[in-house]
């Protein structure tokens, strides 16, 4: 057990992965000499050489396209996309090539690559650099999708992603790079399994990425008023072993999905629908979605904070869901 940061855990996972598997290469804008936009690949070019840590021109289609080609021909590339907001530039490469090749070539060719990127708010990066676009990825069959919330998951999920036979989109959160924590010796849960971060009986809060921490803060505040909330961190959105979510909701009878993404057309909507379909007879209340406003993310720090859920908002919503205590925002 080592106290470290989310950023350092990611870097360590790349180092350990590259030492264990010589087929792993890194490519992306400024991943080499500069060390990555958020410093995750700092120093790796010195450790592994420019043939394994490649600075790419400013062209997302070129980076992701090259990674897909390398994966098809035997390497295990880790492509870095500086902001998930730029994924539109490479969406054809990702959705039509990476995700479909195994199927289109009858299983003869796979694309074992990892697309590392980061999203979310928290650094006043404004409307084009702060989005949470996991719903775009989840909608594409053939892609795996991982969004670690903890330091340990940053390490272990990236190590596990580097062993998958399919393209994995690995979305880090720009607000978590300085998060401190321990890396457990073993992964906290298997690949694809959600994790109960806090146990409770009164409602189930399903969330992922940075919102896990807001939900945990809300759960702690709720405990003070006698409401015990179960907080489930999805960790992997695809694959997702959702049986555990259903078991929790069947027990508590109340469910809330918390996401930083805009609610409309969100992953939260999909999880809520699954719970509605599978747990209908166990529900006391309609499943609630708490998410970002349907607006471009503002650059003003105050407005940016106000555009996404906070621990206070989650706690208010929980009190309404469990006790019909009217929140101030209603």
């Amino acid at each position: 057990m080592t106290q470290t940061t989310y950023r350092e855990a990611l870097r360590q996972a790349l180092i350990d992965g590259m030492q264990a598997d010589s087929d792993i290469i890194l490519l992306g804008e400024e991943v080499g000499l500069y060390g990555g936009a958020y410093g995750v690949t700092k120093g790796l070019i010195d450790m592994f050489g420019a043939h394994r840590v490649m600075d790419a021109p400013i062209s997302e289609p070129a980076i992701i396209g090259a990674a897909i080609g390398a994966a098809m021909t035997g390497l295990r590339p880790v492509a870095e996309l500086m902001y998930v907001d730029f994924i539109g530039m490479a969406m054809d490469q990702l959705a039509n090539q990476a995700a479909k090749s195994r199927y289109m070539f009858g299983g003869q060719i796979g694309v074992p690559m990892v697309l590392r990127t980061q999203g979310g708010t928290g650094r006043s990066a404004a409307a084009q650099h702060s989005q949470s676009l996991e719903a775009w990825m989840l909608h594409v069959p053939g892609l795996r999708l991982v969004m670690p919330a903890s330091v340990s998951d940053a390490y272990h999920l990236l190590r596990q992603a580097l062993e998958q036979p399919d393209p994995v989109v690995f979305i880090e959160h720009k607000g978590l790079y300085t998060l401190k924590g321990d890396i457990t010796a073993e992964p906290e849960a298997p690949w694809g399994a959600p994790l109960v971060r806090r146990a409770g009986d009164d409602l189930t809060i399903v969330t992922w990425s940075r919102m896990v921490h807001e939900a945990l803060a809300a759960a702690a505040a709720l405990a003070d008023v006698g409401i015990t909330a179960e907080v489930i961190d999805l960790r992997c959105l695809n694959p997702l072993d959702d049986a555990m979510i259903f078991a929790s909701v069947a027990r508590t009878g109340r469910a809330m999905i918390v996401t930083e993404a805009v609610v409309t057309g969100s992953v939260a909507s999909d999880i809520a629908a699954r719970i509605g379909e599978r747990c209908f007879d166990w529900l006391e209340e309609p499943v609630l979605r708490i998410g970002g406003e349907d607006i471009p993310i503002p650059v003003s720090p105050a407005l940016e904070r106000g555009s996404i859920p906070s621990a206070g908002l989650i706690a208010d919503a929980a009190r309404w869901l469990v006790r019909r205590e009217a929140p101030q925002w209603a």
């Binding site: 009878g253 209908f280 007879d281 166990w282 529900l283 006391e284 209340e285 019909r324």
Partner: protein, 406 residues
């Protein structure tokens, strides 16, 4: 305004009378259409009686605590609408006319409005169905009077529907868990006397009911109804804690269904010569026991069980029990088997549950085939008792205890 009287309306399908709980409009007080005039308590719930027309309360003719029949006059009021609807002549003499105030049959109440407008969460509906509870009788505490799961839970604890089910209960409330012993068709709780005592000594609560349609319990319409009654029994006597279910023959079908119903509370499912697995059942045995009128006939039937000789006294008691519940048992026998072919298959249910399953078979069973054991899920533990008949647990109480807790 005309002077008239109010009578108690019918407030529920089965209601014949009600007890006045409280008047909410005092004499002399003016009320508007829709205001609650008084609360009455029926055999099911407390109901508010609303005014269908505006008026003034003149006098209460019944008071809190009074039992009032439907149609009985309960108050004198002045009401403009009633007056307007009546012929102009005789307006001043109205008190003599018993005016029926037409209250809707099922008025909205603070608790739960009835019928299609009943507000209840899906969870509450599922729980009510499971325990055969009438949701309309449950007071809702949720938003807008919605009946919640917690409300159903409360109602179930208040009125456990074990009406008349005879049940031996030992070591009540033991914290180590509860064992439920379910006998087979034509049998009674006495089949488990030795086992109950042994298990109670082991520190668990033991419930050994006479299944409805048997022994000292009332008659039953079928397995589904019995299952509901057993679920109520568990809710009433073992609302929390670990459950261990033991079922013999037909009781094994019930035990399996209860294991599905109670999910991970059930720590072990023990099946003794279970029905519901193989294709065949000894129709001759069913026919004899469904029709036996004489001790001699019954003795021939009982011999098929392969459980050794039976005393004349025991035979007489059994015959009396069979005669008493003939209709129920005939229906149950038909539900189990037609023309020697079993009608119920519990293999899928057993496959679906995560509870550890252990089964005991006698290799000389002449009612059911011990080789039906092959249809158990592969993870089930199968115990074969060589030479035993259809009551493989008789004289093997230690084995059953081992199967439960070992």
């Amino acid at each position: 305004m005309g002077l008239t009287v109010l009578t108690l309306p019918r407030l529920g399908e089965t209601m014949e009378e009600a007890r006045v709980t409280d008047w909410l409009v005092a004499p002399g007080q003016t009320y508007a259409r829709g205001d609650v005039l008084l609360e009455v308590e029926t055999d099911k719930t407390v109901v508010e009686v609303p005014a269908l027309a505006s008026g003034v309360m003149r006098a209460h003719l019944v008071g809190p605590g009074d039992i009032v029949e439907i149609g009985q006059v309960i108050a004198e009021v002045e009401s403009d609408t009633v007056a307007a609807l009546l012929p102009k002549e005789g307006l001043t003499e109205l008190p003599a006319i018993p005016t029926v105030v037409d209250v809707p049959k099922k008025p909205p109440t603070a608790a739960a409005s009835a019928g299609p407008n009943l507000r209840a969460s899906p969870r509450a509906r599922r729980m009510a169905q499971g325990s055969k509870l009438d949701l309309q009788s449950v007071a809702g505490t949720g938003p807008r009077g919605r009946v919640t799961g917690a409300d159903v839970e409360t109602a179930r604890q208040v009125k456990p529907r074990i009406a008349g089910m005879a049940c031996d209960r030992q070591a009540a409330g033991a914290e180590a868990g509860t064992v439920l012993l379910l006998h087979g068709l034509f049998s009674t709780r006495s089949a488990f006397v030795g086992l109950s005592a042994r298990l109670a000594r082991a520190g668990v609560q033991v419930l050994a009911p006479d299944l409805p349609g048997h022994g000292d319990s009332p008659d039953a319409s079928g397995l589904a109804q019995i299952e509901g009654g057993l679920a109520d029994l568990i809710d009433a006597t073992a609302p929390t804690g670990d459950l261990y279910l033991v079922g013999h023959s037909m009781g094994a079908i019930l035990a399996t269904r209860l294991a599905c119903r109670f999910g991970d509370r059930v720590k072990r499912l023990v099946l003794l010569a279970p029905a519901g697995l193989g294709p065949r059942m000894n129709q001759l045995f069913l026919d004899i026991l469904c029709n036996a009128e004489t001790p001699a006939a019954l003795r021939r039937g009982m011999s098929i069980l392969g459980a050794g000789p039976i005393s004349d006294a025991a035979l007489g008691l059994e015959l009396a029990m069979l005669r008493k519940h003939r209709a129920s048992q005939l229906a149950l026998a038909r539900e189990l088997s037609t023309g020697g072919v079993q009608q119920i298959d519990i293999a899928d249910e057993l496959d679906a549950i995560a509870t550890p399953v252990r089964a005991l078979f006698g290799t000389a069973d002449a009612v059911l085939d011990w080789q039906d054991s092959a249809r158990l899920p592969v993870r089930a533990a199968i115990h074969l008792r060589a030479g035993a008949g259809h009551l493989p647990h008789l004289g093997a109480e230690a084995i059953v205890e081992e199967m439960l807790f070992g």
